[in-house]
Symmetry: C2
Subunit: 571 residues, 2 copies
């Protein structure tokens, strides 16, 4: 491809909406063009990167016995009503009405479509297991599109669905997919991807993992153990608290005038925050009824864990006078008649400070075992740096940020039951198959790799997904000798099957190199009057790992071998 | 791929909505599954055919200097308002509103997106010409989805857009695309595809061609000259009439009581229908004003040609009493004061019969040159079998049916002007680039080839797009020797890079062969106790062009060579 004919502009200053480097570089480098909030077109370099990632994914899915299929983007709402998601998913689901008045949706995932394709067909246990996948456009009406291709509304996704007759077989295959995902990320050149246990959210099911590319700009927060390798999304991370039991003193009401926060009370009473019983108020979305969570004073409530424990949607509570709740002075002894949940951090601990359910008063000496009958304990705390690792038990948890570049779920029978997909087992009994589902966002992966692998001047694309493998910079196309060498190298490399971007423009070397940095192509071959005089081609790697001259004769073959050598790193 | 694990069912009876063979066979063969009106999912065999066609198209587009890009499926309505198509296109355009209340559309073509991607970027004449294309999902809310993948609402399409600085350059490139299209259809194994001049319809522009696969079940009607190769969609075909001038007699009013149709009048007066001036009444959609078209009595009006000539939408007229039009007795002399158009078939002809604009009366002896001043002539007649060929002038036009499998348009500046895309020419003057656009429906092409190439038992896929190249039928998987041979052949062919579908099921040979016919795979290799005894593999071609035995030793290599030989036919 000749740069002179390549559509798309490179420019110096990023669009004003770029807050992360990968977005700025991919916009500045002519990879993509903004059309609407979270909606982009891709220029040729962007499309080529996507296609290379797609090819890697396709290869790994085929190796994992996947059958490539195609589901519709536009689906009848009736199918989503079968699964219950038409009503359970909010405005992320794009809904519309066709010319005949039928309610329609745009696919954001395709569990319903996968069950629709498989049911009536996989009727016998002998037809299992199988996996179907597609690489197709999805639409999710994100409230907060951001970061260029990191979080968009329309995106290309590989989504796979496996079907099984037993939990063991699902788990066996889940492990195969886990391995396939590791392969995909390694082959695409993503360096810092880890898999973490995650919250399954709206997908249903129990076991799930997210593949996280570790980066400061990540939206997800992860708890990682540097000792044993344990990792989990903060939304799902278990918190293990080992409390030291101290002798309980009698419950004593003390005046704490105007001390309505846990910090103020602890300071006022000279108490350690680890010896306070903090209250946090929520309300159930459905009926606004109150839930009070008590938690150790130094910890925070993890709302996702609380939501999953409760089994319904909640929001931070707004305390009204009629509620009987005394905001700022809430405690577990007496008080309003609402549901209370005690975080496990309060187990086995005595002599606590807590609210007295009376304005300007707290208790000292609270002992939950003694003072609160039938307390309901659950792990709803947010994990923190230095927490005890649920894996190895050492207090070494670190907190990192990551971008979710893939996820895998053991869905179980959630969808097959709801949509009545059954098979006959060996005994002739009708059963619901178990499902797993496995997703990778192609554009997000491309952008994440750019985020991980760039410098101030542009992306540093791994050879396996680079839009082209080699860029030729012809620094003097008006010099016949230089031009002839550059053109010949272009033709020779092309004949050898090397993917070449050829900058044949009559522009200043500085501008050409600036563009080359934005193209981020792994190997650069420079032809200039100086190299021409020396009878060489100057070759350098975008990642600065090599720079040197190649004899003009045989340069194309040498470059082809360098490309092959680089590609081996991503096998 | 093992058939035992392949998702999708083959069955004997087609779904009740199948009215054409290709639809019935692709439904019965487990290629696709109906989800909603005009919306299908594809099973693995269907997806593989699509991917092979996509690869052929991509290759030809790349050879034609195409840059593969990606446009969004979901686009803001504002972009379509720029081009004017948001209001000019009817309910085929799927419209919806996103969570923020923005009006959105689903892309049915991407002229707007192409201009959006290219404008601001291709700012200088030196940046031209260029072509961008994508292979992506489209949605068109067809009122009459039919024929399986022939006419759907959601479909995969290759759409390409070229940009030029002169009409000559557009025409030069248009010819390159025309050739690329011929290559695509030949390489995909479509045998009877011709290019015909077409009506540009809503796409705008002037010159356009449709690529038509000739088949009885086609929805389009074509005029074809077997002598010179002229071809045109009936909607656009020029009608050349050579009238014999006869001496004009005086205009004479005659009573024709109750003779309100051209047939009745001609029979009554003993006149040849070629010597009658027939009237057809239309109304303009916008204001219901009348247009009367006069045409030679033996011809029909082509409403598309009339619409294009008039430049506005029309519908068949409903004659009211207030209109002053005397239905059944309309003539060009006197009569109601409405716009009249004379078809060119009435030029240079005398002595005609026509209505007298008075109930139960006609004229004889009409001579338009003499009796009607300033008659407005235009070619608005429907072409017919035996018409004079506009190409070679011989009266040999034949009428055939076809499916449109591709189309190419010279759009000109319609979109660039509307969306204000300009470039600076060599003189520094701002100009609108000219566009061409080029589309192929991938699924429709697959279905059309199935329609063209099948027998009663299933599709006969060309080697270039067959879901697999070879099918192994293992007739006795319970016989260890037979099974070992089949498994080895499967492994050997796979190692040689041959795409194999392996029927490893324990079913009756009849059922296995019936399924094999539905898979339509070009080469079939049968392993049975009989072949095992003879030390051979029985090989047959799905198109019945070959059947014979191969020595078991070296069979895989021989089959690989057969595949290669077949593939050559589609290069």
């Amino acid at each position: 491809m000749r740069v002179s004919k390549l559509l798309g502009q490179r420019f110096k200053n990023p669009p004003s909406d770029c807050v992360i480097e990968s977005h700025a570089l991919m916009a500045r480098g002519g990879y993509m063009k903004y059309m609407a909030n979270g909606i982009y077109s891709l220029y040729m370099p962007g499309r080529r990167i996507m296609r290379k990632i797609e090819a890697i994914i396709r290869d790994e899915m085929d190796r994992a016995d996947g059958q490539e299929v195609l589901f519709p983007v536009a689906m009848p709402a009736s199918l989503w009503e079968e699964s219950g998601r038409y009503s359970s998913i909010g405005s992320e689901l794009a809904r519309w009405t066709d010319r005949s008045g039928n309610k329609m949706v745009l696919g954001m995932t395709h569990e319903e479509a996968a069950v629709h394709l498989a049911r009536d067909t996989a009727a016998s246990y002998a037809d299992y297991p199988f996996m179907i996948y597609q690489i197709q456009t999805k639409f999710r009406d994100e409230p907060r599109a951001r970061g260029g291709l990191i979080r968009v509304r329309e995106f290309t996704m590989k989504d796979a669905y496996s079907f099984h007759t037993s939990k063991e077989d699902l788990e066996r295959y889940y492990a195969i997919q886990h391995k396939a995902y590791e392969n995909v990320f390694r082959r695409a050149g993503a360096k810092n991807v880890i898999s973490v246990k995650s919250d399954s959210g709206m997908m249903g099911g129990s076991v799930s993992h997210e593949f996280m590319l570790l980066t400061e700009i990540g939206e997800d927060t992860l708890a990682i153990c540097p000792e044993c390798g344990y990792s989990a999304n903060m939304e799902a991370a278990e918190v293990k608290i080992e409390n030291e039991r101290v002798p309980s003193e009698p419950l004593e009401k003390v005046a704490t005038p105007g001390k309505g926060t846990i910090e103020e009370v602890c300071d006022f009473l000279g108490a350690d925050r680890k010896r306070a019983c903090k209250a946090v108020v929520y309300q159930k979305n459905a009926d606004d009824s109150y839930i009070i969570v008590f938690i150790r004073g130094d910890l925070e409530v993890n709302e996702t864990k609380l939501r999953n424990y409760l089994g319904f949607e909640i929001h931070p509570g707004v305390v009204t006078e009629e509620s009987g709740i005394v905001a700022g002075f809430i405690g577990p002894v007496g008080g309003a008649n609402v549901r209370t949940v005690f975080d496990a951090s309060l187990k086995g601990i005595g002599n606590l400070v807590c609210g007295a359910n009376e304005k300007d008063f707290h208790y000292k000496g609270l002992d939950l075992d003694r003072d609160v009958k039938d307390a309901e304990y659950a792990d709803v705390a947010k994990i923190f740096a230095g927490a005890v690792c649920p894996g190895c038990g050492k207090p070494v948890i670190t907190i990192k940020k990551g971008i979710e570049v893939g996820n895998i779920f053991q869905l179980g029978t959630k969808y097959t039951e709801a949509m009545n997909m059954t098979y006959l087992d060996a005994d002739g009994e009708a059963k619901y198959p178990l499902m797993g589902c496995y997703g990778i966002g192609v554009g997000r992966l491309a952008a994440s790799i750019c985020q991980e692998s760039h410098d101030d001047y542009g992306p540093i694309w791994p050879m396996s997904i680079a839009p082209w493998q080699v860029e030729i910079c012809n620094l003097r196309c008006d010099d016949p000798a230089v031009n002839a060498t550059a053109e010949k190298l272009y033709a020779d490399l092309d004949a050898l099957g090397v993917e070449v971007l050829y900058d044949d423009r009559d522009i200043r070397p500085g501008a050409m190199f600036a563009d080359a940095d934005l193209f981020g192509i792994p190997i650069r071959a420079v032809v200039s009057p100086k190299t021409e005089e020396r009878g060489v081609i100057e070759v350098s790697f975008r990642d600065k790992s090599f720079k040197g001259d190649l004899n003009r004769d045989g340069a194309a073959e040498a470059i082809r071998d360098m490309v092959a050598e680089e590609l081996k790193k991503y096998e």
